[in-house]
Amino acid sequence: MEKIISGKTINVNEEGYLTGFSQWDKTIATEIAKEEGITELGPRHWQIIDYLQDQHKKEIPLSIRKIGKSGVVDIEEFYALFPQGPLKKATKIAGLPKPASCI
């Protein structure tokens, strides 16, 4: 389905995940974050978003456990930054598909 975010039309699935990463940019990320109840994306958020996008590019499956061991962020902080389901929120904001570990 189509959705308009800050004047741009993007394609998302029924759960709100972008269907193609090419439509993603930082403005879209900020707007999705607001919808998810995160009013501002700080430097730590962006570091994690970068990391998730990089892992996805390398086709490494994402899981909270792996992210906790990555050295980028520990699980506690990950939850603090993206409360209530950090992985599914962080991937949605990063423009990535919902990870298999959430399925």
């Binding site: 029924e14 456990r65 061991k69 699980i75 506690e76 939850y79 603090a80 389901g85 399925i103």
Partner: protein, 410 residues
Amino acid sequence: MKRIVILGAGTAGTIMANHLNHEIDKESWEIDVIDHRQEHYYQPGYLFLPFDIYEPEDIVKHIKDFIPKGVNLINDKAEKILAGEKKVLMQNGDLIHYDILIIATGCNIAPEEVEGMNGKEWRNSVFDFYTFEGSLALRDKLRKWEGGKLVVHITEMPIKCPVAPLEFSFLADSYFKNKKMRDKVDITYVTPLSGAFTKPKATETLSHLLVEKNINQVNDFGIKKVDNENKKIIDYEGREVSFDLLVTVPTNKGDALIERSGLGDDLNFVPTNKATLQSLEHPDIFVLGDATNIPASKAGSVTHFEAEILTENILRYVKGEPLKEEFDGHANCFLETGNGKALLIDFNYTHEPVEGTFPFPGIGPLRLLKESRMNHMGKLAFRWIYWHMLLKGTHIPFVSTTMQMEGKHF
């Protein structure tokens, strides 16, 4: 003589041994199955044992009774897979050479992964029902339990049979009603997922059932620890759920053999091609059942469908032909909803469970994603099918290996 070695004589390994025994040219191939255990457990029975629906003897038989004549059962423990050398090192020092290796070592619970789960309350007020011992201990606990807060909990995904914790909650509701003590029991279902199940349409139906049965639901719960002193589970955001009886599904991990052999991911699952079931790293290794990392449910029905496709692919591999990319993640599961009823769900990698009829489009007799007594009879009948048909690799009539699209309301 060339050799196929199957590691593990559980559901997956046993079905493969039976299939290959029929299909492969025995003039040039020997089949060995390695498993150190003596017993074969009907794992779906672990769900019924705590509620006194099944007795232990209903669900335990000898491994050797299901390994066909003509297949060599090695009743010893494997220490390490030496993938580069095409050998399995046994604990007794023997080296077994293979031309093709099939990994069917399954998965196990790992309560030690969560702080305090394995603590002093383990099997006092904290139980699992994913092992025979755990399920039996829980039966004894429930027989004398006088009520209080029952918390049914999933630690993290993936787990074997993702519907089992829901079924456990539904059956608990029935069990306490029958014991005329439902008013003394408060049931809460705690999950790391955002809903009752992993797929949206089934989640809708199942959430409705939870409400109907007066079962509370706590979603998005990422457990950090079990507090044994105060009998609470606490998540990473500081949320707490107290319990008098915690029935948890601990983290599921692949076998330690996979870790010792350096063949697994961080949960010891073997990276596997999700359509061909060949190992991503070693072309002469194939993987099926709970041991793989493929994004399908870890369930006996999935293994049964995988085994049919894997057998064909092994025959192709032997002849040097390209493998068939056919496995679609097909799962077909009865889901107990209590009070003598069950749901049936049928789904694959791309299609979530929906309403419809099964196995005959438009006719049934089984209805998909709807509660019925007929589905419950199906689930009970399945134990017979398991022992007498499924393990032996007999094709189950009318049930197709890949998912059928007709008769379903997408």
